[in-house]
Amino acid sequence: MSGIKIIFNKEMHRVWKDPKMILSLFILPVVMMILIYGLIGMLGSRSQEQMEQHRSVVWIQNAPEGLESQLPSFFQEADVSYLSAGEATDAVTQGIYDGTIDLLAVFPENFLEQVNHYAEGGVHPDVETYYNPTESYSQLARERFVSAMQEYEKQLLADRFGGEDMLTAFTVDAATGGNVIMDTKKAGSEYLSMMLPYLITLLLFAGTMSLGTDTISGEKERGTMASMLVTPVKRSSIVLGKLLSLTVLSLISALIYIVAMVVAMPKAMAGMGDMTLTLDAGQIVMIAFIMLTLAFLYVALVGIVAVYARTVKEAGSYITPIYLIVIVAGIITMFSGIDGHSSMEYLIPIYNSSIALGDIFSGELEMMPFLLAVSSTLVVGAILTWGITKAFGDERVMFHA
């Protein structure tokens, strides 16, 4: 059996035979993810439900006669109190400020008279509203009021012009609602397309981080690495066996997480918009290549840090800033790329994989940027692996000699 295979098997054995490791690496993150997204979904639905059920607390000054019969839907959803003309509004505006009152609507005096006797070129009567945009209920009350008033205005205009049909000069898409012409690959969930590249780049790193430091720095610290170094197996075999196993474990961990997310998210976040995602075979192959090369790069990156660190703790402190870079690279890709990316961007490690993944999910990735991203990631990963192998042969690094 080759040295690489023996070391690879040992590293896999370490994980698969340890229930705690399986729990922390594969099960716990998935359970946590489902719980978190489930909670977000539940809170979102509950908040929407509460908004729908909320009765707006509204004060109206100078309410025109018969207003309740003109705005029936609004009055059904609101508890309305009235102020007469000239009455002080200070207490009401303070209530809006405090969040105990949602809205104050002030009608001009003789509102109906001004509306009914409007002459061309005259001043339109203006209804003023007072609300608090930092309060959701206040914003909702204003939306309800403005919408109801627009309906009322439509009715008044219909009376003025002799019928509702007189208010319409032409329509747009009245029959069809618009005829859609699009690439179906781009039709997937916008939310998942935006989130997945970020989560994939992040999860692959998270999966590598703890295992990588333990497998290299941990073995150095515990003195178990030296026991392998006094066997006839080549140092490069030890390095490659370890990196290969870490890559595979990181991929498995990320894949489990992603599958769980794609399956569970639509259910967990039902009511939060379209959460389904459709990918064709080509897209899946591209994603697999990007994930594989990125996992390899991460493993090599963590490996080089871990091999130079004296302890797991020291390695952890060096890796934290790299983790932050990975997070930032992911976040940048969530909010960039509307106008596409330059070829140079596909050469920047980590960032290139993230934007390439984003392009795949939005069905926009072409072969050349894909190849650029994959090959540059592989080259950087290979250079780092060479560096780790050199470090394994360096007694100052391995034994602090």
């Binding site: 023996i6 370490r14 003195g223 178990t224 030296a226 006094v230 100052r396």
Partner: protein, 261 residues
């Protein structure tokens, strides 16, 4: 046979190490021009105080460290040039080398056997032999972290000898062991000597060296101060036992250092 010629090992000290060791020099001579021959079928003991350079010498023999100057050959193979070949021939044990605590003993023995290129059948045969010899068969399915200190040391010896090496390099093999386990280890070393193995051990325990070693090298401050059989050392120092001989040598050197200072 191990042949050491003019071995010198100089460590470069980082700023941190200089600070930790409270020294200003950027280097430290751990082993200074040491030569010796360790014969086949003999036990050679290396004696010295902490920091004398014993472990560095053994690490150089085991190919973990490269000599700054000089050469070491193990059965004719150079530790720097033919590292892989040397590692095939040696069984190395030191307190700083540990068995992975997360694994079961049975798995580790097979793992190291595979790394030495053995087939599963040969590993199983050798494992049974070693485990029976050390009385650890019933613990083979336990995790290393579940074993007592003595059991761990026996397990580490079994693992280091799984490939039946011709040359055995043990750094303080009985350190921290109870008297029963220590006796099991020393008895086994004598048995290996009878089998014609080349054995080199470092130790602090003078009685152990007296009992085990055919030849003894006393190392102080990286230099070999004396080498010979127990009788030769006692004769040269005029002392009754090895401990007194060691102290006489040590005090003489300290006195010399004081006079030179």
């Amino acid at each position: 046979m191990i042949q050491i010629q003019n071995l010198t090992k100089i460590y470069k000290l980082s700023k941190r190490q200089q600070k930790e060791q409270n020294v200003k020099a950027g280097t430290k001579i751990a082993v200074n021009n040491v030569s010796m021959t360790i014969e086949k079928g003999k036990i050679h003991g290396i004696l010295g105080t902490n920091g004398a350079g014993k472990t560095t010498m053994l690490r150089c023999m085991a190919t973990l460290l490269k000599p700054t100057e000089g050469t070491i050959t193990v059965n004719g193979a150079d530790t720097v040039r033919d590292g892989e070949q040397v590692r095939r021939m040696i069984g190395f044990l030191t307190n700083e080398i540990k068995l992975d605590p997360q694994f079961r003993l049975r798995y580790l023995v097979h793992f190291f056997g595979r790394l030495h290129g053995m087939d599963e059948e040969a590993i199983e045969r050798r494992k049974t032999e070693l485990f029976d010899r050390f009385g650890i068969t019933e613990f083979q399915d336990k995790l290393v972290e579940e074993l007592s200190t003595g059991m761990k040391q026996k397990a580490a010896i079994a693992v280091s000898l799984i490939h039946d090496p011709e040359v055995i390099i043990f750094d303080e093999p009985t350190s921290g062991l109870d008297i029963i386990t220590a006796r099991a280890v020393t008895d086994y070393l004598l048995e290996l000597k009878k089998q014609g193995k080349t054995i080199v051990i470092s130790t602090h325990i003078m009685s152990e060296a007296e009992k085990l070693c055919d030849r003894i090298s006393i190392i102080m401050d990286g230099k070999k101060e004396m080498e010979g059989s127990l009788e030769e050392i006692l004769q040269r120092t005029g002392e009754r036992d090895l401990e007194d001989a060691f102290f006489a040598l040590y005090c003489g050197l300290e006195l010399e250092k004081g006079e030179n200072a």
